[in-house]
């Protein structure tokens, strides 16, 4: 029965070793997908390379279906699986600021680590910038505390707020993803930039 670590006595050392091994797989997958290249990531927003869309949604659907099936076959106690807490204003404003950071900086935190790993110097600077941004948030936290805590709805699921079952939402997400994959493939033909792609 999963999740294994919260349900069993596991030493800190083993727990951290598992963290490292999971991270190893995470970093390997990100780099293999090409997320170690900022121009490949940015291609998503100009249509010449939609790898981000394909990898991101395929990964989300794979894990989403995995969790649904683990739950269905009672192999996982979903009541102790973490569901993100929803504070609507901070989720939206935080997301908007992150989106600006994405198009300006060309990475997100996870991808910048995988890019830094293969020697992308711009990724090391992005990482440094992230630390600065977090420090800035920490130092100015009293200014944002109200926004940060506003409009708390709890660890709510989208399926619950729409009033549909988890399975039906999953089906909608898969249908939406398939349509977006098709759009992505079309975009790559329409906005293809062989001059950029061959350099990546």
């Amino acid at each position: 029965m999963g999740p294994l670590i919260p349900l069993n006595e596991i030493s800190n050392e083993i727990n951290f070793l598992i963290a490292f091994l999971i991270g190893l797989g995470f970093g390997f997958a990100l780099e293999q997908a090409g997320f170690s290249s900022s121009r490949k990531l940015a291609g998503m927003f100009y249509g010449y390379d939609t790898t981000v869309l394909k990898v991101f949604f395929t990964a989300a659907i794979t894990a989403m279906l995995g969790l649904l099936f683990l739950n269905y076959f009672e192999l996982m106690d979903m009541s102790i699986v973490y569901v993100n807490e929803y504070y609507s204003w901070s989720a939206i404003v935080g997301g908007v600021i992150m989106g600006a950071g994405f198009i300006i900086g060309g990475f997100c935190p996870g991808t910048s680590v995988s890019a830094a790993a293969i020697g992308k110097i711009d990724a090391w600077w992005f990482l440094g910038g992230s630390l600065l941004g977090i420090l800035l948030f920490g130092e100015t936290f009293p200014l944002w505390e109200t926004l940060y805590m506003a409009d708390y709805l709890g660890p709510i699921k989208l399926s619950t707020s729409l009033g549909i079952s988890d399975g039906l939402l999953a089906l909608f997400v898969i249908a939406a993803a398939v349509m977006m994959f098709w759009l992505g493939e079309m975009a790559e033909k329409r906005f293809g930039r062989p001059d950029i792609s061959k350099e990546l």
Binding site: I22, G23, I97, M98
Partner: protein, 176 residues
């Protein structure tokens, strides 16, 4: 780029759908083992909290933000810090197998390496700031959040990608 790619043999990157499944399996494994998904910005926060606590412990204790993450143990002894160290090594391994290890500043020919670095620092700072306000980045909030069907995950994902699309026109020179 004359190195041999031991993984894909002919093309440079893995097929994106296969890479997505691989990433999804890793994410699912994280959930099955720990009950939580993946993360990245959380580890960076631990580094910042540890640094502030090291330089000015009184200041860290009195802050409503830093103090949440201070305990008996160093903030660096956290699951996500070890996971992100794994990301670094996993990326290095993949890059080595694919013949992609090289020190370089990747940038559009229309901008200088210096401008690229300035933009990377500004973008990183925005992402770091936003990830704290939004309680997680693309990994912890958007990707892991969507896998559990959380409303926060979908909203954060749409806010990140929607904003990046909305602003793409203004920053096009940096990329295309």
């Amino acid at each position: 780029m004359s190195h041999h790619n031991y993984i894909t043999h002919d093309t440079k990157y893995m097929n994106p759908y296969i890479a997505g499944i691989l990433l999804g399996v890793v994410l699912l494994a994280a959930f099955y083992l720990t009950g939580r998904g993946l993360g990245a910005s959380g580890a960076m926060k631990s580094v910042v909290v540890a640094a502030v606590d090291g330089v000015a412990p009184g200041h860290a204790q009195s802050s409503h933000f830093y103090s949440k993450y201070l305990g008996e143990d160093s903030p660096l002894n956290s699951w996500l810090v070890f996971q992100v160290l794994g990301v670094l090594v996993g990326g290095l391994l993949s890059g080595a197998l694919a013949g992609r290890l090289q020190w370089k500043v990747e940038h559009s020919p229309k901008i200088t390496p210096r401008r690229r670095i300035v933009m990377a620092v500004i973008g990183g700072a925005l992402f770091g700031f936003g990830s704290q306000l939004g309680r997680g980045c693309t990994s912890g909030a958007a990707l892991s959040g969507m896998a559990t069907l959380s409303l926060a995950g979908f909203v954060t994902m749409m806010a990140i990608f929607g904003t990046a699309y909305a602003l793409a026109y203004f920053f096009r020179k940096n990329w295309i």
